[in-house]
Subunit: 359 residues, 2 copies
Amino acid sequence: MYQASYLKHFTEQVFLSIGCSQEEARLASEVLVSADLRGVDSHGIARLAGYVRLYDHGRLNPKPNVTIAYETPSTAVVDGDRGLGLVVAPKAMEIAMEKAEKVGSGWVSVRNSNHFGIAGYHAMLALQKDMIGWTMTNAAPLVTPTFSLDKLLGTNPIAVAVPALTEPAFVADFASTAVAYGKFEILQRKGLPAPLGWAQDADGNPTTDSNAVKSGGGLLPLGSDREHGSHKGYGLGAIVDIFSGVLSGANFGPWVPPFATAGFMGVQQSVGLGTGHFLGAMRVDGFRPADEFKADMDKWIGAFRNARAVDGEKVLIPGDPEREMEAERGVNGIKLLEPVVLSLDELAKRFGIPFEINL
Amino acid sequence: MYQASYLKHFTEQVFLSIGCSQEEARLASEVLVSADLRGVDSHGIARLAGYVRLYDHGRLNPKPNVTIAYETPSTAVVDGDRGLGLVVAPKAMEIAMEKAEKVGSGWVSVRNSNHFGIAGYHAMLALQKDMIGWTMTNAAPLVTPTFSLDKLLGTNPIAVAVPALTEPAFVADFASTAVAYGKFEILQRKGLPAPLGWAQDADGNPTTDSNAVKSGGGLLPLGSDREHGSHKGYGLGAIVDIFSGVLSGANFGPWVPPFATAGFMGVQQSVGLGTGHFLGAMRVDGFRPADEFKADMDKWIGAFRNARAVDGEKVLIPGDPEREMEAERGVNGIKLLEPVVLSLDELAKRFGIPFEINL
């Protein structure tokens, strides 16, 4: 087990070692490890070596000059200057929130960035100011839209955070696919098949092969097949891609550059600058008095939390499982898988940072 | 077969007969019949008798005073004064577009409305001005969230319209459920079972009973079950409900009033005013020069349209099927089912409007 503070400190040292400023190294480590705390292990410190690989490949600028390329009172395009998405996204969210402060809402499309960690982190920044936060990002193409044999979309997540009064905030944060790619990696390690409806093979047939995406197949959009609405999951992923990539001038669709995970690092054609995100903030009191709204959110949450449920289950409020995990891991620490620990040990040796192997 | 112009004229006469103004009767008939033209038969003239029933039950104000209840430069709450959603929603979209004209984007949450027809119609209004249109609405509870035995959400659709340059616009318009309720009505008429993954029974078990929703069961969110991501469809439906209902001060969750279809007309508790919508408009050139953006949209659409597809299918661009249907039905006319024709004939007799039975 590792305490979050230990992992944050380690991560900060790594980002400092590749040339990030003190302030940005701290912010990036905060964002990255928040994924481990919230139980989204695939998007946390397991990816630290990947960010360093991006740097090694010249795809990451450790000292980015993040600028507003264009703006109106409620909209902007932010250029991330090839900086860490972990740093670019919170800066873009800050700009969205400043606009919301002034004119009720702010919407920022970001180009020239890369993987930004968990979408929910950035959306939740808005909660501090009684705003609704909205975050989306495109990602490297792993997903075959309905009827397609080609992979054209990423897992393209959406996160929306909404403040409540006495209840914890509503925080939805989900990929627009049936499952995230991380679920396949777990099955691959265990040598297990995947349920039907998660992936298709190279010929577009349903498959239980948990290696299908590596051998010409693709992840399926939310809905899994046409009969169960996969065209809706495809539409959702497409909206995320257009808002994040096309609106900003980043890459989009099949051209989104891969994150630096082994096997997905090919050089390729480019139609824009880096990866794209879309972040928005709306002041709740741009619509109704904040206390009235938040009291109604409590009522909303209560109605769902107290609904009758199937035996042994309960109706979950989006954000509850992650919040409970964060409370638990904040006390008991975070267990990392052996390959992750070894990847951190390798970084430790390379940069001369103290690191305890702890399995 | 009926020509769209004939159905529009008839619909206009009906709305005039219940006291709508000339201008609003024309607008409402335009919106309603656009659903029939675009192949969304469940949301078109088949519902005309339902709107009249709303009027008969005192739930519809034929001469609403649609007002802005509160606003900032980029946000507003609009009160629909119990008017036809078919009229309230385009007015709200106009307000969103005026705000976008001035400050880059405009976001309007609407209360005190009712069913607004097809979401796509309102989103597409933004296209004329090189804006991206966004529409959502909540609806009467038919959907059981993941693990819930209670129906807490409507089919809560989302529509997003994005302009392109030489390609037709991208128009995604979909419910946040595996299927719309209309699909069950078709199966009920034919006495056929439904595929697994569309509904659950009163005990929360998967069912093929196409009458399940009428006998204590519920529609399933997009994703169908937990293993295939139904919590994501639930999250999406929840976001639509919160933006449409809670943000505006309309009803939300299990309290959204039913549309006036037989069997779903019970009097019930209220936590806000009527049904809620959420409409937004963003100027494309609030982000990038419009021509650059639209040229990239052409590239996006081309990449998806020309992707390799499974045998006998093609990769569809959201909006293509509806646009093709509109072109076809605009020429060849619209075939209405017998019960729909008979419901129109009944309205014709009641209001003394000429109507040809045409099966």
